[in-house]
Point group: C2
Chain length 347, copies 2
DNA sequence: GTGAAAGCGCTAACAC
DNA sequence: GTGTTAGCGCTTTCAC
């Protein structure tokens, strides 16, 4: 039962700059100057104002400030899901970098990667509540041209597939896939099979393309790729297929989760990893080093991706000039225990 | 080299309500009514205004609207880290629920759980840029009283340890720990050892307390708990200790990551899971079902936690009346392959 | 069903 | 170093 006496008064608004000015015996403008840490205020006056702020419990009103300055000190992030390892790490890095630049982060999650949703989210975000936008294109089907990205708002896109004219930051997917494939080839495997991400994902597509290209460069015709959907379940299903065939010795999975699912299937089929079959993942999640066996994988530098996004976005916000271009963040091969030469002792 | 001709004009602001009014040949007020979907507008007028909005490319200015109404249609989330499975899932659920209520979510990440940081973040957030705040207390050392949570802003705290007078939502930590412990006891283990979370974490503390209490109820003196820090590394370190002792048959780890690390250590020590040793985790992460062996664990309903937070917060925002109280979201025991009676066949 | 006036809290521009 | 004036874009209030 709510206590009526505790109800917050309908009209209560916080003390304004005028209230502070009255108490400090100065003009509103001077209070504003102190609030914004301008230098041209007499130290004694400043102290008086600060004291007055404290006594009345003053807090600046962001809305009024934003209305006046046209700046919100907030950046928007549009994403389809927060529940993938990569997106969550990227968002983590973005919030950290944004905080360093004294900006907050407003997240808009879109249930479906349909054009309508992206446009809708973008529209909501572009109601000038943010100074710029970062779009994480984890997976999607849509034609970029259909999303009307207003030219008057800074945008950074995390997706190497985005067209020209955008500012793009992404992990170097191709480099990672190449490292994985060459590591396996270098171990002596005759070919490398691939568990791909969903074909709606551009990062998945890039990894698959680079895997196939690397194979061809080595004079090997790429076998057909298995089509997964990033989940451990799909990895398990495909792993079961792979185990049933019995002729595959090296697998490159497009992410660690699918690699994990595949390893589960291999274990159940009695296949030794890496004795009978080697597997490489992609991401280097927190847990991968504790998988059984510890997973050889491609590490993505999500922190750097997030940092770069904010850096580019802040620059565009400050200069008010778009600077389209692509930045790729390098990957690292992390060798652990899930890979070995073909037929190596299983111990 | 940026093309100077593409520079955004300094003064460019989006078209305002007045521009739309001019084109539609109505007053600004009528445009506002259409924009806010008020009913008292003639359908013909409405269409004309809508068309005008479209031609000038009108977007409402949130700052002006917020300044006027005192409502931002945004809720703030304060968290220490986004990189734990639980926090991320909770944030995911919060953004989904907030979107359903047509609100955006502003995230503030605090590097350290110190009083100063929380207060600082809270102050930033409470500069009226949000209508309410959700605080995720993943882990902390601070005395709640030291954080000055202004009485005039709706707050929901995710942390069952928060004092009275707050609106609290949390997973029923005690229930989960009890389920884990009783499952192991029910299998016939003489006692259950515990890999605890850091002692700075209240959820960790609650799980440890409930584990010990359950043991005592069964007439068993709880053995000392191993102190982990949520990471797989700490689980691995403790798992190595456990394996070295050789007399432990049942372990309850306070999260899935530590359980994973411990299992790695057990494997390396040649211990069969669950033949020689059984283990239960807590969280039910995406990957747990694909661990080797698939992990028996306690599932948390993060989606429900997030949903409840928004529901309570929205209610407080609308009624302007705080309604302190605690809501606990139940857990589920998910039995997989990492647990069995002591000495069971390892196959 | 529609319009005119006023003002939310702040800061840019200018005066002194 | 400080004050005055004006107005950002919107909605509330009150007319009509």
């Amino acid at each position: 039962m709510p206590d009526a006496s505790r109800a917050r008064p309908e009209t209560r608004r916080g003390p304004s700059i005028a209230d502070v000015a009255k108490v400090a015996g100065v003009s509103a403008q001077t209070v504003s100057r102190v609030s914004n840490e301008k230098t041209n205020v007499d130290p004694a006056t400043r102290d008086r104002v600060l004291a007055a702020m404290h006594t009345v419990g003053y807090k600046p009103n962001r809305a009024a400030r934003a209305l006046r300055t046209g700046r919100f000190r907030s950046i928007g992030v549009i994403t389809f899901t927060l529940s993938t390892f990569g997106n969550m790490r990227t968002l983590d890095a973005i919030t950290t970098a944004a905080a360093d630049a004294d900006h907050t982060v407003t997240v808009i999650r879109i249930p479906d990667p349909t054009t309508g949703n992206v446009s809708g989210a973008y529209r909501r975000l572009s109601e000038q509540a943010v100074d710029g936008v970062i779009i994480i294109f984890e997976a999607h089907l849509l034609d970029r041209a259909e999303i009307s990205l207003p030219a008057d708002q800074p945008v950074v896109i995390i997706d190497s597939n985005a067209g020209d004219g955008f500012t793009i930051v992404d992990t170097d997917q191709a480099q990672g896939a190449r490292q994985a494939t060459e590591h396996l080839l270098g171990l002596g495997h005759r070919t490398v099979w691939h568990i791909a991400g969903p074909d709606t994902s551009f990062s998945g597509l890039h990894r698959a393309r680079a895997w196939a290209a690397t194979l061809r460069e080595h004079g090997i015709t790429p076998p057909p790729a298995f089509q997964g959907d990033w989940t451990t379940d799909s990895g398990y299903r495909i792993g079961t297929e792979i185990a049933a065939r019995g002729d595959i010795t090296a697998v490159f999975a497009a992410n660690d989760q699918m690699a994990l699912g595949a390893m589960q299937a291999f274990h159940e089929a009695g296949l030794a990893i890496p004795g009978d079959i080697s597997i490489v993942g992609f991401d280097d999640m927190e847990e991968s080093k504790a998988f059984w066996p510890p997973l050889t994988t491609i590490r993505q530098d999500f922190a750097e991706v997030g940092r770069l996004c904010i850096e580019k976005l802040m620059h565009e916000i400050e200069t008010k000039t778009p600077e389209p271009g692509r930045s790729f963040v390098p990957t690292t091969l992390v060798v652990r225990k899930s890979t070995a030469p073909p037929g190596a002792d299983a111990s």
